[in-house]
Amino acid sequence: MKYIDEFRDPALARRLLDDIAARSTRPANLMEFCGGHTHAAFKFGIRQLLPPTVKLLSGPGCPVCVTANADLDRAIAIARLPGVITTTFGDMLKVPGSRSSLQRARADGADVRIVYSTLDAVQIARQNPERRVVFLGVGFETTAPTVAAAVLQAEALGLSNFYVLSMHKLTPPATQAILRAGEVRLSGIIGPGHVTTIIGSDAWQFLPRDHGIPVAVAGFETLDIIRGVRSLVEQVESGRPGVVNTYSRSVRPEGNRTAIDVMYRVLEVSDAEWRGFGLVPDSGLSLRQEFARFDAARAFPVAPGPVREHKGCPCGEVLRGVVAPPECPLFRRACTPQNPIGPCMVSAEGACAAYFRYGEEV
């Protein structure tokens, strides 16, 4: 595909990398918020080509990983209710909660179905009027508008058997939480390309303004990531932090107004619990009162039992960038993709999965 080749040109990549090496004189700890960036940087072999001054840290940008055990437990408990069809993106299936997983619930007889789009979940509700269909709303600002659109479609169709368990999260508050905690010294942030397509690059202005930290919003191809890193190195060296959009073919300063409007028509900002962060104020999305009848949290009062965390699993620290996956004592020993202990090893966007798959020294 021409479109892909243009953004993977090795000669151009080499020139940009040489430029980074020439410019970089001081340490630059750069956090890629998004798990997609972590995986792409490994897959394309970019990390090995950065100068020793530039370090890439993985952030919390894996929707499945940041879902708290309390939310997972509730989703699993709802899935086990008779007459319920649970629809979910595939990544959620294997994530262990306190005592079980959706995969195990399915083996025990729960009707859990993988869908590729929220609208497929609405379709399943239409085809099964005698069943109650729950969609597990996991994801950031990228997926939330599609979930809102599904609720609007269900309303338009007059469906009374479609529900959403909203566990959606907002990315700027989590970034703020990392900086406020002050556990990691960050010199810059690679802004999540897909999320910023929705929320707009202006949404990151608070980082240079309030924290003095530069942002480079980047896409997911080889040259996109290298350009993002180069922009951050430039900003670190010049001491003039700002928000630079290196993904202008997708991202605008104001974002996608249509998507944002749909999202906030159905959902409203609420506090949310994140794995690794605890309760972060105004960092989640819940269904508005007028859409309460689609809210699985209200329609299915379940008591999943006390929340338990796996002892010794530092996924929370990994998500905050405090612990790198190879520093975890369980990594590659007790915790592997076959037998994941924490969600960061399960998800295709998880940092531990990326380090496991690509990070071994050749």
Binding site: M1, A13, K43, F89, Q338, E360
Partner: protein, 339 residues
């Protein structure tokens, strides 16, 4: 038998309907004297000399039953023919066991059997024994097919996954990931408008051509489930050698690449049904590549890497940027990303 009918439990009862099904569907399409005897077992000529038999079995459970470029019947014949071919055997005979779901349209069954027969003819093999069972609705996804295949391994041909040697060249017979991405784009909910077609094909002809070109072919593998990456890992482990491949040399169709990018999948791990990997001594690599490229199922064949002494058991990929990374076995299933 009415063409518009459906499979009933009685089709598996052994009574009149069972006989009708055998006569009017299976015998009609798989016609050959051995099967036509309708005896309890096929009796076949004995091949003396020093030839060895190759025997394999496989089961086919796929959804959807029909896809661009093939169907479950074609897949069953190709899969079995290819398994035999990967040991250097010349496939001769096939058996076919059908597990039919009550309610399966007879028209669909006949379409599948017709396709199996056509593929068998193209591959030059005969279906000489078969069986049919019917299970209640809900207990099978339309139909399942189980096959066994028998082939003969000519004298002097010794091919196994344990024979790769340092210095050997690794060739793939064409673009990877076509079958897996075709199936994925057809599945419910993924309504992509792609020009993709499954590569499903019998590879015995291609294998015969490349074995003719060289007596130093050390390994043959068809990268089905788990894709190219998994097969290379199997070869590296079984032969206790390292494998080095170059990202830019691996042929991938742009539509496959695009769809993989969109879903967050890696074509290295996507299934193929009409491709093979050859490990051949360097001295014969050119001849083998040339022979493959003149065959209809090998026109896009390419050298993708080498067998090395370093890192035994591991596959290392050199990226377009010139860096190296390990390509591991596929763990679990590749699932599309959320974000």
């Amino acid at each position: 038998m009415p063409k518009t009918g459906k499979i009933l439990m009685a089709h598996g009862s052994g009574g009149q309907l069972s006989h009708d099904l055998v006569e009017q569907v299976f015998l009609k399409h798989f016609h050959n004297p051995t099967l036509a005897n309708l005896d309890d077992a096929a009796v076949l000529p004995y091949f003396a000399n020093d030839s060895r038999f190759a025997l394999t079995t496989d089961s086919y459970v796929i959804h959807p039953l029909f896809f661009p470029g093939g169907d479950i019947g074609k897949l069953a014949v190709c899969g079995t023919v290819n398994d035999l071919s990967m040991r250097g055997a010349r496939p001769l005979y096939l058996t076919a066991g059908f597990i039919l779901e009550e309610g399966l349209p007879l028209e669909d069954l006949e379409r599948i059997v017709t396709s199996m027969a056509a593929t068998a003819r193209a591959a030059g093999i005969q279906v000489v024994a078969g069986d049919t069972k019917v299970v209640e609705r809900g207990n099978a996804d339309g139909l399942f097919i189980n096959t066994a295949g028998v082939g003969l391994v000519p004298d002097g041909v010794n091919i196994s996954g344990a024979d790769a040697q340092a210095g050997d060249v690794v060739i793939v017979s064409g673009t990877i990931g076509d079958h897996g991405m075709t199936i994925m784009s057809q599945r419910e909910g993924l309504s992509f408008n792609t020009p993709l077609v499954s590569d499903c094909a019998p590879l015995n002809g291609l294998v015969a051509a490349l074995l003719e070109a060289s007596s130093a072919v050390h390994c043959l593998r068809d990268p089905t489930r788990g894709g190219l990456a998994t097969v290379l890992n199997e070869l590296a482990r079984r032969s206790r050698v390292g494998i080095e491949i170059k990202e830019t040399h691996i042929p991938v169709r742009s539509a496959v690449q695009g769809l993989c990018e969109l879903l967050g999948l890696d074509p290295l791990y996507v299934a193929n049904e009409g491709k093979l990997v050859v490990v051949v001594a360097e001295k014969d690599a050119k001849e083998v590549l040339a022979a493959m490229r003149t065959h209809e199922y090998g026109t896009d064949a390419a050298v993708i890497g080498r067998i090395v002494l370093a890192h035994p058991g591991r596959v290392v990929l050199r990226t377009a940027l010139g860096t190296c990374r390990i390509v591991d076995m596929l763990v679990g299933e590749q699932l599309p990303r959320i974000c």
